[in-house]
């Protein structure tokens, strides 16, 4: 009961915020710094206090139309202009537009002598005048503590500073006060006692030779805020805080599928490739063809007209283009058409956060549909395991929010491809492909399989992965009684089978020829017999004809001779007729 009452109470008096416009800082603080109140930013030298303050002011003037006063105690206006210009801010221009006013407060210690009680009205008047002159809503005091070194009588100074903070509150400006980090306290002179609304601590740590800046909101009165330490960096466009833990899983998904550029692989993934916007991990030991698959994937996407951003942490762009040429993959036309863009950098160039920020910047600038990171493992080695995982999480979330398909390759050392920290990373991935070496028969062969593919049916088969002059081939590995055979063993087994088939075919052909020959022989025999028979029949007919003719002749001749002899002519003629009809009857 009580807790709910308190909760609703705290919500009802939720402090109004003043957005800083600094990437990530507003996320952590739930909208910005407390509006109309002073905020203390402390940290040791070189932490970026002044830059944070300056960016707060500049972004206020540019993005939120809130003019600001920069009261500098350490640097002159020209110096501040130059420093801030390195982050792409045109402070001098804003000063000309009367959106920012810079007041350099300088007190030379050697010139100053104390002669009794004093107050800081000079400072108040200057500040007041500056605020009123441009209608400032924001004020930066950098670094107030200089006064401790120059002005006499610390007791007076303290009470005056206290009065200053009260006055700032009353004035209703959102103030950022920077202070040096003290040895035991947050600040060297205990300013945190007076500025109690919001305290931000900056820190610069070197871990394993790699320096990382951290930001922590120590205190934020009357508001919920992220209490973690967040890495932040100073990039070309100002500060960016990387709140890994403040990202959520809220991205939309699509059912669209995209091909991988390797038809056989598409077939293994239900025939249609990966989901658009999914994150894909490709794990393999050295030299198994991770970059080749990545290049194929990018080339296929670019040929569809999609934009591909290829982060390479091992090879230079030219080297990749040349190497892919050797397998018949031409990337340079795609690069020329602006569809494929390489970004190469050595992992050790800078820290993890800087890499991440660079990648974000590149992605935001190029607006790709597909992002390749080759290999992600060399980046992850830069930090601790949890930092690396945090980075990948953030990158994936960022890409997924933009529906960008991502392919990460992961190099594993020796042995089995699975025994590395990929176990941790893989849980972030939607699909996981594995490339592996099989050694045997005095050779090394690549095999390939899909370990997981969320949301789609996929083949569970191990395939042999071949790289030739004309690209990638995924072929069925031979699976027989002696296990999975690859490479020359598979070729030998296949040759063996081919030979067996060939022998069978030859045998069948021989049998067929034999039968054919037999058939022709029989037919020939039959036709011989038939012709013999026909010859005999012909002869018989011939003989019969001969007999008939000779009979007729005989009769005719007999009749003729009878006529010649003039005897019994009629009888003779009758006989002739008789003999003719007799022949007909025959």
């Amino acid at each position: 009961m009580q807790s709910t009452a308190r909760k609703s109470f705290s919500r009802s008096i939720l402090l109004p915020r003043c957005p800083t416009g600094i990437q990530g800082l507003d996320e952590i603080t739930g909208g910005g710094l407390p509006l109309g109140r002073p905020t203390l930013v402390c940290g040791s030298a070189g932490c970026g206090k002044t830059l944070l303050a300056a960016e707060f002011l500049v972004r206020g003037a540019v993005q939120f139309d809130e003019p600001g006063v920069f009261m500098a105690f350490e640097e002159t206006e020209a110096e501040i202009n130059a420093n801030v210009a390195s982050l792409g801010f045109n402070l001098a221009g804003l000063v000309r537009q009367k959106k920012v006013m810079v007041d350099y407060v300088h007190v030379e210690r050697t010139e100053v002598q104390g002669t009794g009680e004093y107050d800081l009205e000079g400072l108040f008047v200057r500040l007041n005048h500056a605020i009123d002159a441009i209608g400032a809503k924001r004020v930066v005091l950098d670094t107030l503590e200089v006064l401790f070194a120059t002005l006499p009588n610390e007791a007076i100074l303290r009470s005056e500073l206290q009065r200053l903070f009260r006055w700032l509150k009353k004035k209703g400006v959102t103030a950022v006060i920077t202070a040096e980090r003290g040895r035991e306290n947050l600040t060297r002179h205990g300013l945190e006692e007076y500025v109690s609304d919001c305290v931000i601590l900056l820190d610069h740590r070197v871990n394993d030779q790699i320096a990382t800046r951290h930001l922590r909101v120590v205190k934020y009165r009357g508001a919920l805020h992220g209490t973690n330490e967040f890495p932040f960096l100073i990039g070309e466009k100002g500060l960016s805080v990387l709140p890994i833990t403040s990202l959520g899983l809220h991205h939309n998904v699509t059912n669209e599928r995209i091909g991988t550029g390797i038809p056989r692989l598409d077939a293994m993934l239900g025939g249609r490739g990966f989901f658009r916007g999914s994150s894909i991990l490709l794990t393999g030991t050295a030299g198994t063809g991770k970059t080749i698959i990545s290049s194929n994937f990018s080339s296929a996407a670019a040929k569809r007209g999609e934009r591909v951003l290829f982060f390479s942490f091992e090879e230079s762009p030219n080297q990749i283009v040349r190497n892919m040429h050797s397998i018949g993959l031409r990337l340079e036309p795609l690069v020329r058409r602006g569809l494929l863009r390489f970004h190469s950098a050595r992992p050790s160039l800078c820290g993890l956060e800087m890499h991440l920020a660079t990648m974000f910047k590149e992605i935001a600038a190029f607006q790709p549909d597909v992002v390749i990171v080759d290999p992600i493992t060399s980046l992850m080695e830069l930090g601790t395991v949890s930092e690396g995982k945090g980075m990948v999480t953030r990158l994936i979330d960022y890409l997924k929010a933009g529906h960008i398909t991502s392919l990460f390759t992961s190099l594993t050392q020796g042995g089995h491809a699975l025994n590395q920290s990929e176990g941790g990373m893989s849980s972030l991935m939607d699909a996981w492909m594995l490339l592996q070496d099989f050694e045997g028969n005095g050779e090394r062969n690549r095999v390939f399989y899909v370990l997981k593919a969320r949301g789609m049916g996929h083949s569970n088969q191990i395939r042999e992965f071949l790289i030739s002059d004309h690209g990638i081939d995924i072929v069925d590995a031979y699976i027989g009684p002696s296990g999975v055979l690859t490479g020359s063993a598979r070729a030998a087994q296949e040759a063996l089978e081919n030979a067996a088939v060939l022998t069978g075919q030859q045998e069948a052909a021989r049998l067929k020829r034999e039968v054919e020959r037999k058939r022709t022989a029989i037919e020939r025999q039959i036709s011989g017999l038939r012709s013999e028979y026909e010859a005999e029949a012909e002869e018989l007919r011939h003989i019969a004809e001969q007999v008939g003719i000779s009979t007729l002749k005989l009769t005719t001749e007999r009749a003729a001779s009878g006529l010649r002899r003039q005897a019994d002519a009629k009888t003779a003629a009758g006989t002739l007729r008789k003999s003719r009809s007799a022949r007909k009857r025959q």
């Binding site: 002669t115 009680e117 005048h129 009588n153």
Partner: protein, 113 residues
């Protein structure tokens, strides 16, 4: 000795007399502290400097831009423009021993008398 309040301070004119003091007192409003400081500095001019000085009292409430131009942080501030080097004395001038020492007034007085 005349204390001009308000409009003045252009660039301080180098005094004809190189030993002549040019003083500026910056105060913030007509507070007790301001008044005490003005009183003290006038006294100083009359006694220690024997009138050999130009004093200018500036109220930064009325001329806030001057506070910026002349790097005034605390009030009251007494700026000794001439003779060089320029020096600043912060406070209500209740303890002037330092000031007298700094400006080397004792020796000057001894020399002049």
């Amino acid at each position: 000795m005349k204390a001009r309040s308000a409009p003045a301070p252009r660039t301080p004119k180098p005094a004809q007399d190189p030993d002549r003091f040019v003083l500026r007192l910056y105060v913030a409003g007509a507070t007790v502290r301001s008044r005490a400081a003005i009183l003290r500095v006038r006294q100083l001019c009359a006694t220690e400097l024997q009138g050999n000085c130009d004093l200018e009292v500036i109220d930064i409430f009325q001329q806030p831009t001057l506070a910026r131009r002349h790097q005034i942080v605390a009030t009251p501030t007494l700026v000794v423009e001439f003779p060089r080097p320029m020096r600043r004395f912060i406070g209500n001038l209740m303890t002037t021993a330092d000031l007298v020492f700094q400006l080397d007034l004792e020796t000057r007085r001894r020399l002049t008398t």
